[in-house]
Symmetry: D2
């Protein structure tokens, strides 16, 4: 169950950074779901590399070929397989990276985990490239959620020392608008500053971290579970499947520590026939279950570990200390391309929870 | 799979706050594991209520009756079932709580999720009392990990505005010593301050939040997986199964955002034949896999939502606004009793990951 | 996942033949299912030992205590735990059975599987007694299926050399009547003959095998899946969870081998607005999916391996050949008490498949 | 979990009869398994269509392209994806088969199950063609089992009214020899008779059923589980994933019914240091666990439902009775090409059970 997500849908992700093709197979999709391929490709484009000077120069069109499970525009209910063929394979010499372990990367623990048999080229199965099939699966999940009136969006809450505003009382349209920005931010003055910080890091052969804030509007009350399948469990588990994510917090998150119960609790009130919460400190989830308010959470992504600066490391073959300068193409800030990936992971978690809920109807 | 953890072991948790018995069944346990019942009871005691003025006054001995899977002191390999009979059931009038939804509690979303059929008495299946069987399962997992040389410990990093020191270069003995403290802290002056803050909140009919920092020493390199079963995915998923947890971060966590790659990466070096990291910003996990350094993470727990202060809420039956004063027995700070629960959740995640790894031997 | 059934519901079965209690926890039950405890106890009574001279003399009332998941007569949606306390524990000397492996029993493979740590008393976790919690889970499943208009029944198709008639065009009422017979047969003359054959075997310190034919009426078309979750896969997997089952066949089963396609195919026709099949050679399942006709299958149960006759075997401790005479209480024909167990297994499989189907609504 | 096998390995199968590609992704494969691509292709060739006049005339080379999880000839431990591109797609008019339901086929129940959105061309996801990726997965499993000393083989026990001998005391070499025969039989005179019977059915625009007997040699004692994951449960569940399988029996199977316990039990004896059974009525499995004797079982496959003879059926669109003559290419006896499929299913079940067992080492 390592590269397979098993829930009410099953998502199998396969491939390596420099393999012939990577892809995802989604099983358990309800039949009759109309897939808007334009929307799906738009999601793929948001993540794809090479689209700006803020991202890696590797060029991949990342078009998905759907080879099964779709018939006359609708899902059939049988597994949907999407393939992404690799285009920009550099026939590079990997002999150095085979033995010199890149700090902050999976190279060393991956080598031990896979007993030395892992495909080390470009990080192999650990590569950020594997988030492409995740985005594909998320895009399909979004198609389902659309029908349920759920809209997902996010912004870069912080890049290094540049911070964006909060969501405030954002609506669906504003969320959708964010998805069209190359640097999705709420405060219009912040984008340029973030860009500057990233380019400076790039110039310094370095990288920077970032924080993504994500929101889902329209999730109805009652979705999720107590205990092992709490909505937060589902979401966090998927978020930490994304390379580079090192923290997640819902609603006030770590800020809850500084609160008293009387400040933290979200009071209920009746808005006509509808139950509402006056505040949303809990980020829309209480007791592991959606409360009808927006789902809001933050994710911390570490700086890209691949940097060109000289670094101290080891040679695993000779068992000696050595130094390493990573050449090649990297994102100076993975949080930028992380935005659609985080949304995809959320979409999958919510899709799964919605299907779970239907069993009881 | 809601109240069942499905991995290389399966843990089924059942029961309600005021039911006859709650319990856990653990399947997939390796046969021949000697269970130290004293150690297990010690873990139960760490979590049990009524042991100090900092916790709820409900009195439960929380002794576990093991009714299957144990024979002559050793696990048999068949499911281990531990039952905890309820002792201190107050024959209280629950008619108010049936209709008045406690803010910050699962009452309202739980009612909708379970279509109005949930056992609302004392929170039912959502009750923090359900962490008792989780601690039992964690105690069994710890017995396994002990054999593998893994030691788990934690401290209260922060209670409201009182903050403890960092772990620094803690060793196993210091970790174990923490588990014997009623307020586990590193800085000896901090415990009394935390106690004061909690008692003040209690006096004010209020509650406070807290942050727990947890560490596992001795986890060998190579445990975990990329993608959906990353070690962080496993751990976080279990942490958010604990009522009140609202955030988790590994290593530098949200602090990664303020770092450059050159600062964040943990350089490798050879310590004799052994590969080590100079720093441990990644909290012992890179690429979803243990790197051989201590596993370190922080968890944020919100203030107990049950407070005696008057709160605004709704009456779900009459669909009107109303007010609520929760009487009864509550923890003024759930983070205190959360410590052994968080450790249990970690132990389960690591146990599972160790078994996963064995399949490839 | 050994003693845990993981599907759209999760069933955890625990206990040993001579343990304090055995039981089952069912998770994922829809909330609001009214449980008719009389019906459930009736199912338990059908399986319980000591009720006639055809069954073992062990006396167990096999009453189920439901300790969680039920509130005011309805399922809550949280896990339902049913406990069955052991009453008739003989404080017998098991030292012989610890080392002498009973032929046809799990003793030897179980010992190796569990690395010598299994509870060997009375077969431990392998005991037929573990079918009691299975029947409990099945009885709950039947409560759900009742609402969906599904009725399950079965008869003893054959005991040793005595054969019963076929179901023919049985209806619900006739099926229900079968469940009230101690020897459920269609041909009224056959029951006495079966009894005679069983008592003769008992007198000879021997045992006999039997074949059970089972039917589910009212299963609507479209339930099941192709491939790994075919309805036959689900059903057969559960049937082979029942100790002693060694074969299963659907519809014409092995008789299909002697047929031509033109004889085997079940032609469709319109009965008013409804699609029907002229014959039901496929036993109600085609392509892994229910076709709207009765589900019909047969199960072969081997003769009880516990016989008092002297048998050749080994002493596992001394690694020598030896002989064994099993004293104690056994069923001379497990197929008799197997009937409600087989029905329970079917009910669970169908219940699961119905929930699966709901996800797509 | 419909088209995904979830165990200690996960196998995801996707594709439709006339889709661009079909395939399988296997996750959880131990790293460092050397894959003999010749052996794998040999298995594919055994199943592939168009190789003799006894099989369908559809021509597919069924070569597998492995696009991930294999590096320098060894499995990496990451998911192994094998793609099989479709070559012989007839651009046929499917409008008749869209509305006329083929008797004995999944057309009608599949249509209802998938709410009318299934790809009906050539049976879509229900097609026997989907057994190609299953054979691929089984071939990989066989590579693992080879290392463990396990050899799998089978013969056609019966085709229509022509019956083969029993395995008797077959050894590995004889088993392997069977796999090289186009009509694998033990009695050399039987093959020609079977061929005659099949060709006669073909000439009559009809088809015949068949029984396959399968054996695994070298499975060590202790593999499997009691209850839900009994070795028979695992195996049978996979067998009924194969289109056309309608019955399975282990060892004496339905013949157990005619036996007494004293005849059915397999006595143990010591053969030097080794425990052996004098007979193997139980087909190598007792209590759900391997006993160290050959695993032996039989599988009944129904006659191919696709026949050219005129058949009575319905038009699902007009809701009227009608007649159908299926033109096109079919196997007159699917049991022939079913042999390698049954072996693949067994290999997967055993592979899974072996990995399960390793967790406890």
């Amino acid at each position: 169950m390592n590269s397979v997500y098993v829930g009410n849908i099953t998502i199998t992700i396969f491939g390596e950074s420099h393999g012939e093709a990577i892809g995802a197979v989604i099983d358990g999709l309800p039949p009759g779901l109309k897939l808007d391929l334009d929307s799906i490709n738009k999601e793929m484009d948001r993540r794809k590399p090479g689209s700006s000077k803020l991202t890696t120069m590797r060029r991949e069109s990342d078009q998905v070929s759907i080879v099964s499970g779709l018939f006359e525009g609708y899902t059939t209910g049988a597994p949907l397989c999407g393939l992404i063929y690799t285009e920009d394979k550099k026939s590079k010499d990997y002999s150095e990276l085979k033995v010199k372990m890149r700090p902050g990367h999976s190279d060393y623990p991956g080598n031990v985990h896979y007993r030395g048999f892992n495909d080390y080229r470009g990080g192999g199965h650990f590569s950020g490239r594997l988030t492409a099939p995740l985005v594909f699966a998320g895009a399909v999940a979004k198609e389902y959620l659309k029908q349920e009136g759920v809209v997902i969006g996010s912004h870069l809450k912080k890049i290094y020392n540049v911070e964006d505003k909060d969501f405030g009382s954002f609506g669906s349209e504003e969320l959708i608008r964010l998805s069209e920005m190359s640097i999705p931010v709420i405060d219009p003055e912040v984008g340029a500053k973030m860009e500057a910080v990233i380019l400076e890091a790039k110039h310094d052969e370095d990288s920077v971290g970032g924080e993504i804030e994500c929101m889902a509007l329209g999730v109805r009350v009652g979705i999720g579970s107590p205990l092992f399948n709490s909505l937060e469990s589902r979401i966090s588990s998927l978020m930490f499947s994304v390379p580079g994510v090192k923290g997640i917090s819902f609603g006030r998150g770590f800020g809850f520590v500084d609160l008293k119960g009387s400040e933290a609790n979200d009071p209920y009130y009746m808005a006509g026939e509808e139950v509402k919460v006056r505040s949303n400190n809990n980020g829309g989830i209480i007791g592991g279950i959606s409360v009808g308010a927006p789902i809001v959470f933050k994710v911390a992504m570490k700086p890209t570990p691949s940097i060109s600066k000289k670094q101290e490391t080891i040679n695993l073959e000779t068992k000696t200390n050595t130094e390493l300068e990573i050449t090649g193409r990297h994102d100076p800030c993975i949080a930028i391309r992380g935005v659609p990936v985080v949304e995809a992971a959320l979409a999958i978690a919510l899709f799964d929870a919605y299907l779970e809920d239907k069993k009881w109807n």
